[in-house]
């Protein structure tokens, strides 16, 4: 027998191997720590244990067969994970799940990342002995961000728990029971009709293709193939450190060069960087913040670049909307600039300019369709593609991504500083604003641009920064349940915070639901690191050093926070108080 641990440690035995118990919450975590990929559907490390799928069964000596996800690790247990009996039960379980599923895999949007398919293959399920029991049900196309296909749902409940436990929204839940049991929005309405804030995290955790980001690939192909259109791409910071995963690269590998090359090969006329607009956001938002701070009004200021958070605030905290920064998100700033200035530059009509945003995010699809972010019915951003969708287009075009010779973004709106790229990480907006505000307050150059105090993985982080006697109190949150807790305190006047950064998705945009699907926390960590590395590798780290941004003020916008800037770069919010 192999032993990997010193005799003092508490251990249990898994398939003949002694494994140290080290605070794991359940047997499943321990089994996975022993590098055994026990299949599961209803277990997700960020969520509560549900214990319904029965796939995680193991044989515990003296106790019989039990679910690993709901068994606490105890010293001395002897666990076996693939006895004949367990193999058989698992296969039957999977066949039963497949009998509840439409099995239309080749045409499924989730096909490549489907857990159901992966486990069927892992277990070598070669047949389904049970008949389908459900009549086909119609697709739910009510949302601009998501598609719900009830024919593929296996009732694992991961989506339900994410929405309630991490986002505190609860837009979908189990309804009916027995044969009719389903995961549904309230009152059987479409998911787009209710309180869903479009974060897409339910789709990110969905074990099948029952919830998927709603693709906009077709209209983008059409625009690209239409000679009368001038098609502009803008790419969000978080995309560059994740899209490589779709082509077999390590998470966190930045592939901006290949990505820009691919976009040009697909036929985009210009490729801009949303980070440019993020630099612009920093200037506008930091000035707005410093003004409020000086006057002591509308504090704490909440960030406004996450559209999941914005809709959440509009629904549940309409009384705090004056505290939101009025800055548009970088996506919308860049869209507005393109539509304002490109027609003149190119001698074309506004309607001939098509702006396509490549985003890690599904809520951005909703944001782009807000009526207040359009002019005369023509939106500032025409289409939003997720990272996944861009990868799919690259695949469809047959481009060998990893072999593409790198190309650069177009100027001037492809130019950015590291501050603009930081927006991809939770804490990034805060750090970028600090890099600006610190120099503005002190009148001196920062010795190091890094503010480690606002970095980290925790869903709720507090930091106090003192600059020349000015005390700035910041909070950085991700996950809307954390945002709710903090906003509740603000509502009751129980905080003395100055600035609150909110991102709906775990880890910020790098963990957005439009990113390549992964259920692994370490993937998020690598992408976060990737973003900080991009910042390190750029020459400039502070938005105020972006000379193209300076130029756009002097040539087009006039004063920071001035009339033209307000018209193009700021917005207002809608009271969506739920009643």
């Amino acid at each position: 027998m192999t032993t990997l641990v010193s005799p003092a440690t508490k251990t249990l035995n898994i398939d003949g191997l002694d494994v140290a118990i080290n605070g794991e919450r359940n047997l499943l975590e321990l089994i996975r720590k022993a590098d055994i990929e026990l299949p599961t559907f209803c277990y997700h490390s960020d969520l509560s244990v549900y214990g319904a799928c029965r796939l995680c069964l193991v044989d515990i000596e003296g106790r019989g067969i039990q679910g690993a996800c709901s068994t606490p690790p105890e010293p001395g247990l002897k666990v076996r994970t693939h006895t004949e009996e367990i193999r058989e039960i698992r296969k039957i379980t999977l066949e039963l799940l497949l009998a509840n599923h439409d099995q239309q895999c080749p045409t499924c949007l989730k096909s490549a990342a489907c857990q159901l398919k992966a486990v069927a293959r892992q277990l070598g399920v070669g047949q389904v002995r049970f008949k389908r029991v459900h009549e086909p049900r119609p697709l739910d196309l009510s949302s601009v961000a998501l598609i719900r296909d009830p024919n593929k749902c296996i009732l694992c409940g991961d989506c339900v728990r994410f929405c309630a436990e991490v986002q505190s929204v609860g837009a979908i839940d189990f309804a009916y029971r027995g044969h009719d049991a389903a995961v549904l929005p309230a009152f059987g309405d479409g998911i787009g009709a209710g309180e869903c804030v479009n974060c897409g995290q339910c789709a990110a955790v969905c074990t099948t293709g029952a919830l998927t980001p709603r693709p906009e690939i077709e209209p983008v192909w059409q625009a690209l193939n239409d000679p009368t259109k001038f098609v502009v791409a803008q790419v969000a910071p978080a995309v560059r450190v994740a899209i490589g995963e779709e082509f077999g690269l390590e998470p966190g590998t930045a592939t901006s060069g290949q990505m820009v090359a691919a976009l040009k090969r697909l036929g985009f006329d210009r490729v801009y960087d949303t980070s440019f607009a993020a630099d612009l956001t920093v200037i506008e938002e930091a000035n707005e913040f410093l003004k409020r701070k000086a006057r002591g009004e509308k504090l704490p200021q909440f960030t406004s670049c996450c559209p999941g958070w914005v809709k959440f605030a509009e629904q549940y905290f309409p009384d705090l909307l004056p505290n939101l920064s009025t800055c548009k998100s970088p996506q919308q700033m860049l869209g507005a600039l393109c539509k304002e200035f490109l027609p003149g530059e190119l001698g074309r009509e506004r309607r001939d300019i098509v702006v396509v945003a490549i985003m890690p995010c599904t809520a951005k699809k909703f944001e782009a369709k807000r009526p207040e972010l359009a002019r005369d019915g023509s939106p500032d951003v025409d289409h939003v593609l997720t990272t996944q969708e861009l990868a799919r287009m690259i695949e469809e075009a047959g481009l060998r991504y990893r072999k593409l010779a790198p190309e650069s973004y177009d100027m001037p709106m492809g130019f950015k500083t590291g501050a603009g790229v930081l927006f991809g990480n939770s804490g990034g907006v805060s750090e970028a604003v600090l890099r600006y505000a610190a120099e503005k307050i002190s009148g001196e150059k920062l010795r190091s641009p890094d503010f480690h105090a606002v970095r980290g993985e925790d869903g709720m982080r507090l930091a106090t920064i003192v600059i020349d006697g000015t005390v700035l109190k910041l909070a950085v949150v991700h996950g809307l349940k954390n945002a709710r807790a903090l906003a509740d305190k603000v509502r009751k006047g129980k905080t003395d915070l100055d600035l609150i950064e909110v991102m709906a998705c775990p880890g910020g945009c790098i963990g957005g639901a439009g990113q390549p699907v992964s259920r692994d926390r370490s993937v998020r960590q690598l992408r976060t690191r990737g973003i900080y590395d991009v910042d390190k590798n750029l020459d400039l780290h502070k938005s105020q050093e972006n000379h193209f941004v300076t130029e756009i003020y002097s040539r087009h916008l006039g004063e920071i926070g001035g009339k033209k800037a307000h018209q193009l770069l700021h917005t207002h919010y809608v009271n969506r108080a739920v009643s």
Binding site: G170, L184, E195
Partner: protein, 183 residues
């Protein structure tokens, strides 16, 4: 919305919108508001609250459910989930008269299906839409009524009729319609 039914969200620290803010103050909301208040606005009392609401309206209308959700600080989808979990609750309006047919083994063997078909045909209803358009009747099947000796059985508003045939079933309906018309 906070969705934990096992934990009332009205502790000293909870921020709860005033009940008036939970919806326009129509007469219907006043009734529901009273019910919710009677149960201390506690999310853990959701099931008894729904029971009282159903007693009032004979079903659980969507706008009333969403009002209840708001008042209890529970997600509407969760309230809907609970409302659809229990067969006792109806989310569609029920008719004034409830016609239940036994489809248990005994009744089934004694040809309960043609009776069901005849009554449904008469009222223009089916399994998916069990309530007649005039909202007079709702036709349901139940697994067993515990009256197997009388099979096949039809129950109208708690009154049990044994030894049924399709014709007798339709006659029962006719009698009620006549009575309603006279009233």
């Amino acid at each position: 919305m906070i969705s934990d039914l096992n934990q009332d969200s009205h502790g000293p620290d909870a921020v709860t919108p005033p009940l008036a803010a939970a919806g326009p103050s129509t007469e219907c909301n006043a009734i529901v508001a009273r019910i919710v208040e009677r149960h201390g606005r506690r999310a853990s009392r959701l099931v008894p609250i729904l029971q009282d609401v159903q007693a009032e309206y004979r079903y659980l209308p969507a706008d009333v459910l969403s009002y209840v959700a708001r008042a209890l600080n529970v997600a509407p989808a969760r309230v809907f989930g609970v409302a659809t979990f229990y067969a006792h609750f109806a989310i569609k309006p029920k008719g004034r008269h409830l016609v239940r047919l036994c489809d248990g083994t005994a009744c089934h063997v004694k040809d309960s299906v043609p009776i069901l078909d005849a009554i449904r045909k008469k009222l223009g209803v089916d399994a998916k839409n069990p309530t007649s358009r005039d909202l007079l009747f709702t036709v349901e099947t139940v697994a067993c009524l515990g009256a197997c000796g009388l099979a096949p059985v039809v129950v109208v508003d708690d009154q049990v009729y044994g030894g049924m045939t399709p014709d007798k079933g339709v006659a029962l309906i006719d009698a009620i319609v006549a009575k309603e018309a006279a009233a």
